[in-house]
Amino acid sequence: MIETLPTLAFFGGLAEFLRGLEAGSPRVHTSMLLFGIFGPLAFAFALAISGKLEAGAVRVAALLGFLLPVVSAFWLWATYASMGLNGGYAFFVNTPTGLDAIGVSLFLGLNGISLPLYVMSAVIGLAAGLYAIHTNVERMRLYLILLLTMQGGLMGMFASIDLLFFFFFHEFALIPTFIMIAMWGRAARRTVAIELTIYLTLGAMLTLGGLVALAWMSGAEGFNLIALQLALVDAEHQNLIFGLLLIGFGILVSLFPFHSWAPRGYATAPAPAAMLHAGVLKKFGLYGLIQVAVPLLPEGMSAWAPLLMWLALGNIVIIGLVTLAQRDLKLMLGNASVMHMGYAFLGVFAFSAAGVGGAVFMMIAHGLSVALLFLLADSIERRCGTSDLRDLGGLGQSAPVLMAFFVAAIMASIGLPGFANFWGELAIFAALWQSASPWVLVPALSGIVISAIYGMRAVSSVFFGEAREDYRGGDLRGLEKAGAVLLLGALLVLGFWPRLFSDDVNAAVGNLYPAEPPVAEQFLAEE
């Protein structure tokens, strides 16, 4: 109980109030969960059938659509803290949709791992929505409808306990990304959109194959994750299923060498889509590994762990070097986001509560920071008309606030103390040190140096040096500033007070993973 005290204190009377509500009418909270998922979808649908509307009305409606998940997320978060569940599942919604024959139902709920991610995606969604409303693109209404659809899918993805719906909501969010890239992307958008569509559909199909195999070979005969946790897949099949899931999820999270879609895709996508995809949607794969694949298939994990380690190091070192060579700001950020996924994979590789907890925290921090970076990079591009680092320079004089935000975001993504990323990386490094192969720390730490080099180089070439004359738009302002403040604020709050999430994450991860990493001969037998 003492462990949860600070969180309780933070919410104070609200928690007490919610606890009372829970006792009185427990359905309030589950309807809040449904609200967060189907609210944005309802607004998207309303916008789609509303006929002619004034531009202002469209924006206000969309903003409300983005606010609903935030309300839902904070409500559930506060309630969860007051429930003292030790990381277990809460807020169950279980509705049969007619697929009982294959053990599927709309089964929703949140645990200590998914709740923080649910909150994160609500926050990033709001920031992306604010930024989308700020930018004045053509066919604004369709743009917002697609973003709202994406947001609904993202919220549902983390709230799904049923694995088929988990996959379903992921696709729900993925399809609008393709359309948004194809319609509002930068140069070569159609080529990039089709490349992304086919590559990610391939990953999704591998994942679907793996999930179906997992569901049926476990003997649980269904997609209910909680039931699957009690079932056991035999060792021989574990290897196969884990391989399918690792490659399928790997493609979706841009695990080296399946990452090639990511940098170009993010550089081409319109900023809100890139923010939501790189910040939230991409975490589907990691979340799937952490919550589903690794705990349910430990034998498969130990067989594939050596490969996973090398691929994760490939993400950090090789993509790190590739990032150094980039000359376009958005391509650089796209590569950087691929690179930082390597740390999260290493956290999973460590196979201890600390490492996986660090990976979850890293996912949250990375989501917030990469969304902030894409927002700022797009602001820079809109002001300067280009994102080529060689043509940029001196923007700091006309946009000091933008510069401050950008420097902070870069520092966060490097992992400096004070930002949420620091705690994620620290926990991962500590877990690696305890793991069977502590030498992995050396290349992993070198990644920090690489991040610092390209980050600082980007800052200096964008904001310092001789200013060009044709910058327009002045400093960060209005809703784009609001979005940036939201994301940076979240990074700082978590940086100074990680327990807001880490207690729940640790409790949930502790239920699934051993406290101590396995010893060398057991784990890395192939080496």
Partner: protein, 513 residues
């Protein structure tokens, strides 16, 4: 020869009310012709009345379905007619398809100087024969119903007499159709001769009856010889399957599909793509689960290869296709592959056939949504429906564009549309049945199929409409959409979306529980 008493008992067992919907359709078809001959001025009223009467028959079929008990098999007409809950469902399926095809025909024939009454007449006859086909319990009714269907389709395909594409399509269909019917008949005769041979164990009294033929093929002689292993039985079974393979368009019997789908009038293409194909799959299941079941182990490798080829061809062939009617035909081959996968799984997984029925319903709804849009955009030369006609459709006609995107998206199996759930059900069934290699092919096929379906959606959504006629045939017709058509399209689109999220109604109907 049966004695008079025997004949009397057979006649007494004939329950004509069991085929009342088919009889009503036949009467309706004849009445339509008569009415048209007497009151040609009131043609529109007569045709509307026909559709209303069809709706009434549909309502009656729904009542029959609701009253049917699951698991109960009714046999009428000395084994010619077998009715189960599934055949009652197929009646509804064909009647609904017929109504939609009639509606498509109404839209399509509006601005064309083609006979109308005959179109509705033949659609009614074809529908009745489809309904009898799925209820066939012996090869006599099976063949008669199949031939009635095929001949009706020949006429419908050639309906645009002035279009050489339409005539060419009909000729191609006539030749391949006659060829496949010949093979089918040859196969039936071989099995008939074999099963009637008194020297073999378990000789059948009525060798054309599905149940008796199945019992014969499963019988084993005193010396351990198995009837199913007889070379003649094998040849007969293969020939029958080839004949059915032509109907469903499985590779390598798909050659007629692109040309016929392109040349046929759009409503007829819809009839071919949905109702005729669904009928083919249903009888394929009836044959594989009934008379040919004892030969499963021999037939399975061939069927597996055909499934793999169908999946591969169906997903690769449409890649460079610009004519949307050919695209629908070729991608329909891919859907046939997925359905075949489901049928193969149905041998070991008891709910897999329900999944196939689910897939057929979802496929039909999405296809009709797409065909509705196609019928509205059909240019004067109907076979010439190019992707460029869809350029900027979303801007020009948001309704048509939206319905098209939902329909095509569901065919592609994109969540949250119904097509995804339908594919997922088949894949889970195939996985449970252990058809891993085929499952891999099917999953890869889904990835490839995204490309050509995406191309269609891209033309409709992403490209800007042309401002004026460039004079190179890329100019598109301006559709007029009647309120009824709007209602039908919105209904199909909404059902497609709702079934993607909440399937309870349909899964109950197809018996998936």
């Amino acid at each position: 020869m049966p004695t008079t008493e025997e004949l009397q008992t057979i006649v007494a067992a004939n329950n004509w009310t069991a085929v009342l919907p088919e009889l009503l359709l036949g009467v309706l078809a004849l009445a339509l012709l008569m009415a048209d001959a007497f009151w040609p001025r009131h043609r529109r009223v007569i045709l509307r009345a026909t559709m209303a009467a069809q709706g009434a028959v549909l309502a009656y079929a729904v009542v029959l379905f609701l009253r049917a008990d699951p698991g109960v098999v009714h046999v009428y007409f000395a084994g010619s007619l077998v009715q189960t809950q599934a055949t009652e469902l197929m009646r509804i399926f064909f009647l609904a398809s017929s109504l939609l095809v009639s509606h498509l025909g109404w839209v399509y024939l509006q601005n064309r100087s083609l006979p109308r009454t005959e179109f509705f007449h033949i659609v009614l006859v074809v529908t009745a024969s489809l309904m009898l086909l799925v209820q066939a319990g012996n090869f006599v009714l099976f063949f008669v119903a199949l031939e009635t269907l095929t001949i009706g389709l020949f006429i419908l395909v050639a309906f645009c007499r002035s279009s050489r594409f339409s005539l060419e399509a009909a000729l191609k269909m006539l030749i391949t159709g006659a060829f496949s019917s010949g093979l089918l008949l040859f196969g039936i005769v071989l099995l008939y001769g074999l099963a009637g041979n008194p020297l073999l164990p378990g000789t059948a009294e009525d060798p054309l009856n599905f149940a008796q033929l199945g019992a014969f093929l499963g019988a084993t002689g005193a010396a351990g010889e198995v009837n199913a292993a007889q070379p003649l039985a094998l040849i007969g079974a293969v020939l029958i399957l080839v004949g059915v393979g032509f109907k469903i368009g499985a590779v390598p019997f798909q050659i007629w599909i692109p040309d016929v789908y392109q040349g046929a009038p759009t409503p007829v293409t819809a009839l071919l793509a949905v109702a005729s194909k669904a009928g083919g799959f249903f009888v394929l299941h009836v044959l594989l689960a009934g008379p040919l079941a004892p030969m499963w182990d021999t037939l399975f490798p061939a069927l597996a290869v055909i499934t793999a080829l169908t999946l591969l061809f169906g997903n690769i062939a449409p890649l460079g296709q610009h004519n949307v009617k050919r695209l629908m035909g070729l991608s329909g081959v891919a859907h046939a592959g997925v359905l075949l996968l489901g049928l193969l799984a149905a041998h070991t997984v008891d709910w897999a056939f329900a999944a196939v029925l689910f897939y057929l319903c979802v496929y039909a709804i999405a296809s009709f949504a797409v065909f509705e849009v196609m019928a509205h955009l059909s240019p004067e030369e109907d076979s010439d429906q190019d992707l460029t006609h869809y350029t900027g459709l979303m801007r020009r006609h948001p309704l048509l564009g939206g319905v098209l995107v939902i329909g095509v998206g569901s065919l592609a199996g994109i969540p949250p549309l119904a097509g995804f759930i339908a594919k997922a059900l088949i894949f889970v069934a195939a996985f449970q049945a252990g058809l891993y290699a085929l499952l891999v092919v099917a999953l890869l096929g889904v990835v490839v199929s995204i490309y050509y379906y995406f191309g269609w959606m891209r033309a409709a959504v992403l490209r800007e409409p042309l401002e004026e006629d460039p004079g190179d045939g890329r100019w598109y017709p301006q559709p007029v959409i009647a309120p009824v058509a709007k209602f039908v399209m919105v209904l199909l689109a909404v059902v497609t979306v709702v079934l993607g999220i909440y399937q309870a109604g349909l899964t109950e109907v197809v018996g998936l529980r």
